[in-house]
């Protein structure tokens, strides 16, 4: 789930912090810059792990602060492909089931990832995921209808339930600000453009053992 990533960066220490130990100031600056931020194509940075190398610090004319090039390692949340994770269902929508890990929210399980596997034992005849039509807008819940010899069982995927899923895909979006657009662009009084999540995961629960934990616990 977590990886250690080596990074290089230049850290600026303002003069009023010169009395502190350089390592402490640098660690604090790096944490301030990276914690809870997504780095493009790397993952969600959690915190600084350690500093591996400090190069010479320079002071530039016009700016009294010192600039130090730092080689360091950072703890990054970046699950590998096909990793199994356990999260909580945040909600359901026509796009699928939204899962959250507490510190990371942008996980989606699309409807087609609960398939009808032909090779399953005969009592898993139908595994169809449908949006419960009887519930009103406020409470949309995905339901797994599976049939056994006794009849169909409806298994609801309620909010707040713990769910085990497999990571099948990830996508990074570059959300850095672009320059000003053309002359007839939206004025400042209009709404801001939709915010895109910089890092999203796509999950799947289409295998035995995946899905709500309560579906698979032996009693």
């Amino acid at each position: 789930m977590f990886v250690l990533v080596e990074m290089v960066d230049t850290v600026r220490i303002p003069p009023w912090q010169f009395e502190r130990k350089l390592n402490d100031s640098i660690a604090e600056e790096l944490n301030k810059k990276l914690a809870n931020k997504v780095v493009y194509n790397v993952g969600l940075c959690i915190c600084l792990f350690d500093i591996t190398k400090l190069e010479d610090a320079y002071v530039f004319p016009g700016d009294g602060a010192s600039h130090t090039k730092v080689h360091f390692r950072c703890v990054v949340f970046h699950p590998f492909l096909d990793e199994i994770l356990i999260g909580k269902i945040k909600g359901c929508s026509p796009e699928g089931v939204h899962v959250s890990l507490g510190f990371f929210d942008d996980i989606l399980i699309p409807p087609e990832s609960l398939q009808q596997p032909a090779k399953f034992p005969s009592h898993y005849l139908v595994a169809a995921l449908t949006l419960d039509p009887l519930s009103d807008e406020a409470e949309q819940v995905w339901v797994w209808e599976y049939e056994t010899e006794e009849g169909a069982h409806d298994l609801y995927m309620d909010t707040g339930e713990e769910i085990r899923f497999r990571v099948v895909d990830e996508s990074f979006v570059d959300t850095s600000p672009t320059g000003p657009s053309s002359a007839d662009a939206t004025t400042s009084s209009e709404e801001l453009p939709k915010k895109e999540a910089p890092y999203t995961l796509v999950g799947s629960i289409s295998e035995p053992g995946l899905g709500l934990l309560s579906w698979w616990t032996s009693n």
């Binding site: 990533v5 914690a35 959690i46």
Partner: protein, 174 residues
Amino acid sequence: MEVHLSPGWIQTPGRSDPPVSARSSWDDRKDANSALLSNYEVFQLLTDLKEQRKESGKNKHSSGQQNLNTITYETLKYISKTPCRHQSPEIVREFLTALKSHKLTKAEKLQLLNHRPVTAVEIQLMVEESEERLTEEQIEALLHTVTSILPAEPEAEQKKNTNSNVAMDEEDPA
């Protein structure tokens, strides 16, 4: 909650330094695997970090530190609900030594360590092509290794004990 930092926006006046560069990519699995951290290691790191910051005290609540506070709190909350919080370096070492005979990949061993599976279904999820690589006895042996070396949640242990006590009481009158 997450803000995107694009590499290269660090510009120091008068010098063209290389941007923040990260040496990792989704396809680079050989390198990515060598840098994997177990949940227990991250738990230790964040707990130590929290202790350190509590001692130094003064500027925890400044706006710059808020992100670190949030991510540390949420990640600790998540990991504390997993069996990883009861592990120790010795337990992890013992577990990895015991797994040597089973010929599992690094990623599979990491998942077993993080999740502590108790059923064969879970093992099949975490070990690729387990039907071809492991026989039923091997899966049982693997489960036994996992459950005996890695500590479980204390409430789960208690529940198991009370269940077995109830069973014993039922047998007595007979």
